[in-house]
C-alpha cells in the first residue's frame, strides 16, 4: 500500500526550542493514525507544518506523491488535506450551509450556486453519517453538531486526508464514541485520518496505528491493537508516572454550603437553583461538558461574578456577598480555569505574580511601598517548595510552561494553607508529570483538612480525586453521588442531560 501522506525529516526550531526534530511519518489510505504526545511534544507544530501554517526549517511533505509547497495552506487544501481545529472556526451567525460553502465561491461570481451546494452537502452528510440540518444557524447547534459541520467543511473541499486536533476534548464520552464510529466509517470509505490526542484509552481503542511524539522527536510507532496503555504512557512522558492515590478520609464539618443559588446574567440563567455541600477532608467533583455553567460556578468563588440569589454558608455562617476580600479572609483559594488570562499577568515577573493576590498583606508591603526583597524571597520559596522549573523570581511569567505556571498559581495559594480550594480545570492542557504533581498537592491539602471543590471536564481526573461527584448540566447540579456509585457510562448520560438512574436503552 503506497502512503497517501509522507513526511520526511521535518525539523522546526523556535528560537532555542527544537519543536520538531527530523520527524518521518507516513499515513496509508484508509488508515486511522493517532498522534500521541504531551503538550509541547510538537504534535500541533507538526500538523501546522503539514497544513502549511508553518514553514519547516528542513524536511518535505508529500501528499499523494506530490511535494507540497511549504507555507501554503491553499496548496494543502487543494492536495486534499483537511484540518478540524480544536477551537472551531465557524461563524455562529451563519447557517450550516453558509459555513460549509464560505470561501469556495469566487467573490466575483454573478450568482451563488446554493442549490447545487445544498445537494452536495446533504449527499456528503448522508454518505459519511454526519447528520446536520443545512439551514440551522451554527449558534443553535451543540458542540458535537458543530464538530460535524467542521468535518463536513473539509469534506466539501474534497479532503481525502483529515487531521483532527484533539477532537474529543469538548465531547461527552457518548459523543466521543459516536465520533469515532463515524471516523471509522470514513476510513472504510477510503479516507485517511490523523487524530491528535493525549487520551490513551481512545488511542488504543480507535486507531490503527499510534505514533508517539516526545520533546519534538518521534519516539515510537506501534500498531494500536495490542499496545498497552502503560507502555504508551511511559513512552509519552519518558518515565514512569506515579499517580497519588486517594485514601478514604472521614469528612469533617461543612465548609461551604449552597442552597437554591441562582446566577443570572444578561437575561440568561447561568446557575439554576443549585445546591451543594463541601466538607472538610473531601474532594467534591463537579463534572460536565464545557459550557454548562461551570464558569459561573467557579466565578462565584473568585469574587468577580454578579452577586447570586439564594443561600450561601461559608464556614457555617451565612454570607450576603462573595467578594475577594471576604473569600480570602475565610481561607478560600481559587484556581481559575484560564491560567494565562486570569491566573497570572504574563508580562509581570514571577515574583510579582507570586504576591499579587496578597499585595496589601503586611508581609509584602508597608504604607503602600512594596517590600521587594520579601516578595523575591517569597517567590524563591515557592519555586523551591513547589518545584517550579526553569524559573527565577525575576523571570517573565509568560515564559513558564503551563505546568510550571499552574504550580505557581497553586503554590501561592497552598502556601497560605487554605481551608477551602475551588479549582477549575486545574490540569487542563498539562503534561502527565505536572498533572500527577497537581493531583498530589490537592490530595495533600485534603489530607491536611481542606475541602476541595474540583470543577472538571475530565472524567479520569474526577475518578482519581473526587470523593463525591455532582453533574452540572444547563446550569443545574445533580444530587451528589458517592464516587463508588458513579460509572463513566452513568456520568456520561447525566452529562448529556439524561437521568443516570433510568435504564439504558439498548
Amino acid at each position: 500500500m503506497s502512503p497517501v501522506l509522507e513526511l520526511t525529516g521535518i525539523t522546526k526550531r523556535f528560537g532555542t526550542l527544537l519543536a520538531n526534530d527530523g520527524i518521518d511519518l507516513t499515513l496509508g489510505q484508509g488508515e486511522v493514525l493517532a498522534l500521541l504526545g504531551e503538550n509541547g511534544a510538537g504534535k500541533t507544530t507538526l500538523m501546522s507544518i503539514l497544513f502549511g501554517h508553518y514553514v519547516a526549517d528542513a524536511g518535505t511533505v508529500r501528499a499523494f506523491g506530490q511535494v507540497l509547497p511549504p507555507g501554503d495552506p491553499k496548496a494543502a487544501i487543494a492536495a486534499g488535506i483537511g484540518m478540524v481545529h480544536q477551537h472551531f472556526t465557524l461563524a455562529s451567525n451563519l447557517s450550516v450551509l453558509d459555513n460549509v460553502t464560505i470561501g469556495t465561491e469566487k467573490l466575483t461570481a454573478w450568482r451563488s450556486r446554493r442549490g447545487a451546494a445544498r445537494r452536495r452537502l446533504v449527499e456528503l452528510a448522508e454518505r459519511f453519517g454526519l447528520p446536520v440540518d443545512p439551514d440551522r444557524r451554527i449558534g443553535e447547534l451543540s458542540v458535537g453538531e458543530r464538530q460535524r459541520v467542521e468535518i463536513l467543511k473539509s469534506l466539501y473541499r474534497d479532503a481525502r486526508i483529515l487531521i483532527l486536533d484533539e477532537p474529543t476534548a469538548v465531547l461527552t464520552p457518548q459523543e466521543s464514541e459516536r465520533l469515532f464510529s463515524t471516523l471509522r466509517g470514513m476510513a472504510s470509505q477510503g479516507l485517511s485520518l490523523i487524530f491528535i490526542s493525549h487520551k490513551l484509552h481512545e488511542v488504543v481503542a480507535h486507531a490503527d496505528r499510534v505514533a508517539v511524539l516526545r520533546g519534538g522527536k518521534l519516539v515510537a510507532e506501534r500498531p494500536a491493537a495490542g499496545a498497552s496503555r502503560a507502555e504508551l504512557a511511559e513512552l509519552m512522558v519518558g518515565r514512569r508516572v506515579v499517580h497519588a492515590s486517594r485514601v478514604p478520609l472521614e469528612p469533617g464539618q461543612s465548609l461551604l454550603r449552597l442552597d437554591k443559588v441562582r446566577v443570572e446574567a444578561g437575561g440568561r440563567r447561568l446557575l439554576d437553583d443549585i445546591a451543594l455541600d463541601l466538607r472538610e477532608r473531601e474532594v467534591l467533583g463537579i463534572v460536565g461538558v464545557a459550557g454548562n455553567g461551570q464558569d459561573a460556578l467557579s466565578r462565584l468563588f473568585a469574587g468577580t461574578a454578579p452577586q447570586p440569589a439564594g443561600r450561601i454558608e461559608l464556614l457555617g455562617r451565612p454570607v450576603a456577598r462573595l467578594d475577594h476580600a471576604g473569600l480570602t479572609a475565610a481561607g478560600l483559594a481559587h484556581i481559575p480555569e484560564d491560567r494565562h488570562h486570569e491566573g497570572v499577568v504574563g508580562d509581570l515577573s514571577l515574583y510579582e505574580n507570586a504576591v499579587l493576590e496578597r499585595i496589601r498583606d503586611r508581609r509584602f508591603s508597608r504604607l503602600g511601598l512594596l517590600r521587594r526583597q520579601a516578595a523575591l524571597d517569597h517567590a524563591a520559596g515557592l519555586i523551591r517548595t513547589f518545584d517550579i522549573r526553569g524559573a527565577e523570581p525575576t523571570t517573565r511569567t509568560r515564559l513558564l510552561s503551563g505546568g510550571n505556571m499552574q504550580k505557581l498559581i497553586l503554590g501561592r495559594n497552598l502556601v497560605e494553607q487554605p481551608r477551602l480550594i475551588v479549582a477549575s480545570q486545574p490540569t487542563r492542557g498539562l503534561d502527565e508529570g505536572a498533572v500527577a504533581e497537581i493531583h498530589r498537592r490537592l490530595l495533600e491539602a485534603r489530607g491536611n483538612g481542606a475541602g476541595v471543590l474540583l470543577i472538571s471536564e475530565d472524567l479520569d481526573e474526577i475518578f482519581r480525586l473526587a470523593d463525591r461527584v455532582q453533574v452540572i448540566f444547563k446550569g443545574r447540579l445533580s444530587a451528589p453521588l458517592p464516587i463508588e456509585a458513579a460509572s463513566e457510562a452513568r456520568l456520561g448520560l447525566m452529562m448529556a442531560g439524561e437521568d443516570g438512574d433510568a435504564p439504558r436503552a439498548a
Partner: protein
C-alpha cells in the same frame, strides 16, 4: 516572510530600538530635505548645532523639553494602565488657565506659598478635567479616546472665552491674552541669562517620582497589573476601577502641571497658542520612551531639539520648518515598528 514572537527580548535591543527608530526617521526625512533642495547633511548639522551646540541652544532645548517631559509622563502613566488619555492638550490648557486665574494677585494668597499653590491648582485642574471621561469609561464603558480627544476642543474654546472675556488683560492692547501672573507666582530661573527655569528640575523630579511609583509601590504594581492583564488583576482582588480612576487622575494632573509650569516658568500669561502641540507631542514622547518614565526625559529632549533646531535649519537652508513635525511624526512611526520588532522577529 513571517513574524514569530520572541521568547525573550535582549536588553541591548530595548536600548537600540529607539536609537534605530530615530536614525531611520532622520534617513527617511532626508528625502524631503533633499526634495526641498537643501544639502541633507549640512541641514541636519545646522539643526543639531542650533539645538545642542551652544549653551543657549541647550538651555532653549531643555526649556522646550520641560512641558514635554510632563505631558510625556502623563501619557506614559495612563497608557501603562491602558487608559488612552488623548486629552493632554486640554488638560494642559486647563492647568494653565487655572494658574492665570489664581495667580493674578487678586485673591490675597500668601506670596511665599503662591508658587506651590499655583502648581497644585494647575495639577488639580488637569485632573478634574479628566474626571468626566474617566467616570464615563468606568461606569458606562464610554470610549475614553473619543471623550478625551473631543474635550481638547472644549478646553481651547473655554480658554479662548475666558481670555477674550472675564480674564482678558486690559493692558494688552486688545490682544487676547490673560492677565499676567504676579511676580511672586513665577518660577525662578535656573541659569542666568537663559530662559531655563525651575520647571525643568521639577519635571526631572516628576520623572523620578513616577519611576519610583511604578516600580516600588503597591499602586504602581497594581496599575501595571491592570494594564498588562486586567482579568488577572481583577481575579487577584485588585480594585481595577479605583486603580484606573487614580491613574487617570495622575495623568491629568501631570498634563495640568505641564500647563502650570509653562505659564509660571516661561510665559507668565495664557494665550491660545501657549502650546504648540505639547499634548500630542507628549503622546509621541511617551511612545518613543516605550512608556518608561525615565526614558521620557531623553525622548522629550530629542523632540524638543528637533523643534528648536528646525527654525535654524529653515533660516539657513530654506527648508520649511514644518519639517520638525514631519521628523517627529516619522520618529513615532519608526518607533512603533521598532517596538514591534523587539517583541517579534522576522523569519523567512
Amino acid at each position: 516572510m513571517r513574524l514569530e514572537r520572541r521568547e525573550r527580548t535582549p536588553r541591548l535591543l530595548l536600548v537600540a530600538a529607539p536609537l534605530a527608530a530615530i536614525a531611520t526617521a532622520l534617513v527617511l526625512c532626508s528625502l524631503l530635505i533633499g526634495l526641498a533642495g537643501a544639502p541633507v547633511l549640512a541641514a541636519y548639522a545646522t539643526l543639531f548645532q542650533e539645538a545642542l551646540g551652544s549653551r543657549l541652544g541647550i538651555t532653549e532645548t531643555l526649556t522646550r523639553a520641560t512641558p514635554l517631559i510632563l505631558t510625556g509622563l502623563a501619557a506614559a502613566v495612563a497608557f501603562r494602565a491602558r487608559f488612552w488619555n488623548i486629552g493632554l492638550e486640554g488638560q494642559f490648557y486647563l492647568g494653565a488657565i487655572a494658574v492665570a486665574a489664581l495667580g493674578s494677585g487678586e485673591w490675597g494668597l500668601p506670596p511665599a506659598l503662591l508658587v506651590p499653590l499655583l502648581l497644585l491648582a494647575g495639577a488639580l485642574a488637569g485632573a478634574l478635567f479628566l474626571l468626566g471621561p474617566a467616570l464615563l469609561k468606568l461606569r458606562l464603558g464610554v470610549d475614553e479616546v473619543v471623550t478625551t480627544l473631543l474635550l481638547n476642543f472644549v478646553a481651547i474654546l473655554l480658554v479662548s472665552l475666558l481670555i477674550e472675556g472675564p480674564m482678558k488683560d486690559p493692558l494688552a492692547f486688545g490682544w487676547p491674552q490673560s492677565v499676567p501672573v504676579t511676580e511672586a507666582g513665577l518660577l525662578p530661573q535656573l541659569l542666568a541669562r537663559t530662559r531655563l527655569h525651575l520647571g525643568f528640575a521639577l519635571a526631572l523630579l516628576a520623572a523620578l517620582a513616577i519611576a519610583f511609583l511604578n516600580a516600588r509601590t503597591v499602586f504602581g504594581l497594581s496599575a501595571r497589573a491592570v494594564g498588562l492583564g486586567t482579568p488577572a488583576a481583577r481575579h487577584a482582588g485588585i480594585p481595577v476601577g479605583r486603580v484606573l480612576l487614580l491613574t487617570a487622575m495622575l495623568s491629568g494632573a501631570l498634563a495640568g502641571l505641564a500647563g502650570a509650569v509653562e505659564v509660571t516658568g516661561l510665559k507668565g500669561y495664557v494665550t491660545t497658542d501657549l502650546s504648540p502641540g505639547f499634548g500630542t507631542a507628549g503622546v509621541i514622547v511617551a511612545m518613543l520612551a516605550s512608556l518608561n518614565p525615565l526614558g521620557v526625559v531623553p525622548a522629550a529632549i530629542f523632540v524638543a531639539a528637533v523643534f528648536v533646531g528646525a527654525d535654524a535649519m529653515a533660516r539657513a537652508h530654506g527648508v520649511p520648518s514644518f519639517i520638525a513635525d514631519v521628523i517627529v511624526a516619522t520618529a513615532l512611526l519608526t518607533m512603533l515598528v521598532a517596538l514591534f520588532l523587539t517583541e517579534y522577529r522576522v523569519r523567512r
